[in-house]
Amino acid sequence: MDAFKTAEEKFGTERAEQLRRELEQLDADLEKLRSVPLDIDDAP
């Protein structure tokens, strides 16, 4: 996911720019989550 692009569509470019640091952290977090393999028994 490109959080900045999604934020731009949702909140506008100005707001997305203000949120740039948080959006970069969001992208990094989601990438981290997706990098850890899960088993079928890993229920929420």
């Binding site: 959080a3 969001l26 989550l33 997706r34 890993d42």
Partner: protein
């Protein structure tokens, strides 16, 4: 000894023997409040008439040998996200400035049933997130008391009440407890009800307690517990797992050195202290925590934010907006990873009774524009470990430094026992000169 200097246990015992009048006790605390509150700003709402009326009732009952419970006649502070019947509850937000609940939070009901008097509502950061309230640290009013349970920690430290309750979603009990030099406990979610506590993130929120001794924490916990605490017969030597990885990387050299010094003192006193090695999944904990937090906070504030976005502070606004971008698949993934994280982290307790880390990166930072970094507390909140912080030293700048101790899920009995022993070794008897 002045009444405000009594621990909760001391005051409760003196009330029981008729030596301490609940009315005089409440009046003493209100006088302390009059003197100190202008400089600390720990309270949002205090209804003096009701407090004294309740104190008179408790006194009359005590004279007739009737005691409601272990907290009979004890005034306590309640963080302003816990609903209190007939007493304004603001969540730290202008949107709720006139909100008066019609019922108590379940945990408040249990405190009343135990005989506690609700002294007042303590300051919370806005909706219990990071946008700060006005509270100042009683040790140095130029410093933050931490948050989001800012008022509860500060009020106990400043002797305005012997105990208070708060909540933790990442670090909102352990951090202010340590910054304010008081003991704190974060209970597991199953232990104390969150019913009618305004949420920040449902699956991360926990009820917490502030007091000046472990014994006092125990009395408050017993009063609020939905499940009885299992008392343990574990004998010393207690096994302490000292966690340096990640925690020392995020600590000041002063905090790390003081933590090591405490570990050495505990080892010399007969505790078994060894370094604990964290499982690989620990590295994912910030991503898991933040994803759950963002998503749930965004959901909780969906309607309010849509209608009143202009009233939201910058930090909460950013949290909600990034939460709106997390899709269901990623949220579920985070929840699945959390369960695995909890399982793998809990295995540490096969080797240790408690895990020991610094409670905060360092002493309370200067300024009240921010409430400090919850980096040390988040790992245990995510794991749902019962966690205590205890003050054990002063920094070079004269501010308290805390140690954080976590136990296996639902093992508060063991945690309290170990912490009582640590408390005796530490012997921290300093207080803010305010």
């Amino acid at each position: 000894m002045r009444p405000e200097d009594f621990s909760l246990a001391q005051a409760a015992a003196l009330i029981r023997t008729g030596t301490l009048s609940p009315v005089e006790y409440a009046e003493s605390l209100l006088q302390v409040m009059d003197r100190i509150e202008p400089r600390v700003e720990a309270w949002v709402t205090v209804d003096r008439e009701t407090v004294l009326m309740e104190a008179r009732k408790c006194e009359s009952e005590a004279k007739n040998g009737r005691f409601r419970g272990a907290l009979h006649g004890i005034p306590v502070g309640i963080k302003d996200i816990f609903y209190t019947k007939g007493l304004r509850t603001t969540m730290g937000s202008v949107l709720f400035k006139d909100f008066v609940p019609e019922s108590d939070a379940r945990s408040v009901t249990k405190l009343r049933e135990a005989g506690a008097i609700i002294l007042g509502k303590t300051v919370t950061t806005v909706f219990a997130n990071l946008d700060p309230g006005p509270t100042r640290n009683p040790w140095n009013v130029g410093h933050t008391p931490g948050g989001s349970s800012s008022g509860s920690a500060a009020a106990v430290a400043a002797r305005m009440c012997p105990a208070a309750i708060g909540s933790q979603t990442v670090g909102s009990v352990g951090r202010p407890g340590a910054f304010c030099g008081v003991a704190s406990l974060v209970a597991p979610q199953q232990r104390i009800s969150l019913q009618q506590v305004f949420p920040l993130a449902w699956s991360l929120d926990h009820v917490g307690v502030f007091a000046r001794t472990v014994e006092d924490i125990e009395l408050m916990l017993d009063a609020m517990a939905e499940l009885p605490i299992q008392r343990v017969s574990a004998r010393p030597p207690y096994r302490i797992g000292l966690v340096r990885k990640f925690f020392y990387e995020n600590a000041t050299s002063e905090a790390a050195t003081l933590n090591d010094r405490l570990a050495d003192a505990l080892a010399a006193a007969g505790f078994q202290v060894e370094e604990a090695q964290l499982p690989a999944i620990f590295d994912a904990h910030p991503a898991i925590l933040r994803t759950i937090l963002r998503s749930e906070t965004a959901s909780i504030h969906e309607r309010l934010f849509r209608e009143h976005a202009e009233t939201y502070g910058p930090k909460l606004r950013a949290l909600i907006e990034t939460g709106m971008l997390v899709d269901a698949g990623d949220y579920v993934r985070a929840r699945r990873l959390r369960r695995r994280y909890q399982r793998e982290m809990a295995r540490l307790f096969e080797q240790f009774d408690v895990l020991m880390t610094p409670a905060t990166p360092g002493a309370a930072p200067a300024g009240i524009h921010a409430t400090g970094d919850p980096v040390m507390n988040g790992p245990w909140t995510l794991a749902d470990f019962p966690t205590m912080t205890l003050p054990h030293a002063l920094s070079a700048s004269g501010l308290p430094i805390g140690v954080q101790l976590a136990a296996a899920p639902l093992r508060e009995g063991l945690l309290l026992q170990v912490c009582k022993s640590i408390e005796q070794v530490v012997g921290f008897n300093r207080r803010p000169e305010i």
